[in-house]
């Protein structure tokens, strides 16, 4: 993907290319989303549809305080979602695995 030829000048131009496409969003705390991007603004507020949310759950093992905790996930679907920009870490095309 040659960025210079498609007139991408700043990071928001990249997001602009993803309008009406599925994107992956990583949020602060413990959440990830995939959804179809319909709107965004300069604060990184987003409006997504057909959203699948992945919530990270940490199982804390009482026995070993500094031991390894396992991370499990819970998923949730939502039809139409506004996401507040101050919680967004990153927005990207969905991973191709």
């Amino acid at each position: 993907m040659d960025a210079s030829s498609s007139g991408i000048q700043e990071p928001f131009d990249l997001i602009r290319l993803s309008l009406s496409e599925r994107v992956f969003v990583k949020l602060r705390g413990d959440r990830e989303l995939t959804g179809v991007l319909h709107a965004y603004d300069g604060h990184m507020n987003l409006i997504l549809s057909d959203v699948e949310e992945t919530i990270m759950i940490v199982d804390q093992v009482e026995g070993a305080p500094e031991g390894h905790a396992t991370v499990n996930v819970a998923k949730r679907k939502m039809e139409m979602l506004f996401v507040r920009g101050d919680g967004v870490i990153l927005v990207s095309p969905p991973s191709r695995t």
Binding site: R28, Q60, A69
Partner: protein
């Protein structure tokens, strides 16, 4: 026809004045008092304020008096329905009795959150949700 609601902070809060309100603060405190004044930043004046702590099906209150609350610390403002308030199925006890339980709850929650955010940072690349004083 409904009149055009002014889509302003003031417009949202105007009918809350002189009403008993619940205020939840960013540090997790729950205050109840009469809203006397506010401004566009959601700074609030709360009169006859009590602070409430909860533990399981029990609560306690402590008198706090007159508050000027800086808007950035406010999580939410709730209009208390005075009829529903009588139906709330919680028992009231003395503040000094409940306070240690409440403090323990707060400390446990913080510890869980700290461990969780550390694990998620190391394993999954997440950073912390809130900053200092976000205990709500």
């Amino acid at each position: 026809m409904d009149s055009l609601i002014p889509f302003t902070t003031s417009g949202s809060l105007v009918d809350c004045v002189d009403r008993k309100m619940l205020v939840v603060l960013r540090d997790g405190r729950k205050l109840q008092g009469v809203l006397r004044s506010y401004d566009q930043f959601a700074n609030l004046v709360l009169e006859d304020t009590v602070e409430r702590i909860y533990h399981q099906d029990v609560f306690a209150e402590a008198w706090r008096g007159l508050f000027l609350i800086r808007g950035e610390n406010v999580v939410l403002l709730g209009e208390i329905d005075l009829d529903q308030e009588d139906e709330v199925p919680l028992r009231q006890v003395e503040w000094t009795v409940l306070e240690p339980y409440h403090k323990q709850d707060v400390a446990n929650k913080k510890k869980r959150e700290d461990v969780k955010s550390q694990v998620l940072y190391e394993q999954k690349g997440f950073c912390k949700e809130g900053g200092e004083g976000d205990g709500y």
